[in-house]
């Protein structure tokens, strides 16, 4: 059964992750690879991620799309904390440098339109932390998200260290 649908947009395609995406997934996650973690460990995690992506989608807890542009995977758009009852989900965008800003914005907009139409989701949020860089925040702003809160020390980064989490959201009108 196919749990992750394909969603086309003008400059690309959101599609399920595949085995041959592993090198790109590793590349995406390498940018945040913790010190001391081996390449093998990252590849092993990427394989697990493929399995988990299917499980998440099958149980409607989340969803992971590969972002394909010009026939090549250039990023991932993921949904976490998908709550079918309260019609909300948390989005995460991981883009390689080669993926244009326009394409990033379009894929978010296409995903929202699809999720609204098929699952009636209306509350889309994104959590930004400083390490993510300003670029991805601007992408979400261009996709219609607005800042709602700064959750002070909202994420733990070590035994005694925390960072603020900026919460952004886009709320669609109730149908």
């Amino acid at each position: 059964m196919k749990f992750v649908p394909e969603v086309e947009f003008s400059t690309g395609l959101l599609r399920p992750l595949r085995e041959d995406d592993l090198p790109t997934i590793v590349k995406i996650y390498q940018k945040s690879m913790p010190a001391g973690q081996s390449q093998e460990a990252v590849e092993e995690q990427a394989k697990r991620l493929l399995n988990l992506a299917v499980q998440m989608a099958a149980t409607q807890r989340g969803l992971m799309w590969a972002i394909e542009s010009e026939g090549v995977m250039q990023g991932m758009l993921s949904l976490y904390d998908w709550q079918p009852t309260t019609l909300k989900t948390l989005m995460k965008l991981d883009a390689l440098e080669s993926l244009s800003v326009d394409c990033q914005v379009q894929c978010i907009e296409a995903a929202i339109e699809f999720l609204q139409g098929k699952y009636h989701l209306r509350n889309f949020s994104y959590q930004w932390v400083e390490n993510d860089g300003e670029g991805v925040k601007d992408v979400f702003i261009q996709a219609g998200f607005t800042q709602q809160a700064v959750l002070r020390d909202g994420r733990r980064t070590g035994q005694d260290s925390y960072i603020d989490v900026t919460l952004m959201s886009r709320i669609l009108e109730t149908e």
């Binding site: 309260t86 019609l87 909300k88 209306r122 509350n123 800042q147 709602q148 809160a149 700064v150 959750l151 002070r152 020390d153 909202g154 994420r155 733990r156 925390y162 919460l167 959201s169 709320i171 109730t174």
Partner: protein
Amino acid sequence: MDWNKKTDQYYIRFAHESDIEPMYQLLSDPEVVRYHPKNAMVVEAQAMDEARRMVMQFEAKEAAFWLVEEKVSGDVIGRIALKHFNWVQGSAELQLDLKPAARNRDNVAEILFPVLCLAFEELALHRIEWLLLKEDPVMPDMLADIGFHHDGQLPSFYEFEGQWIDYQVYSLLQNDKSWQSALLADKL
């Protein structure tokens, strides 16, 4: 670790079997739950179910609930909870159901202080959140005065009686100056 606390005026204690009736009296008062997006209880069986859930959530290490009993009268005038324990992030959410007559700054501070001491000092939590409706005419200013910080809002958090609820988020951190000052003064 002793989860039961006391202050000058109150016992802040876990519920027991004989508390079903006072819990029902508290949570069937529309004024107590007016700014909580939930309906007041209408039958005592709901209080029994609620008490069962409180125990289950505590046993699962998801939440802790205390009743607030007035020492002089023995009346239960409120319930305070630490909910949604997140042991990884070191956070939890406070919730207070309090009879309107007790909703003043001094009482709220007196009730909060031992619970926050437990949260920050004994449970080693770092961030305590409080979600309020903006329509609440009293608590936002009171929390600000006590030392909570307004972080922003959680829009359309969930639906209640056909309305989407926006929550205002307030937070207190273990290393906030206001909390450190309260610790030194032994009160909020």
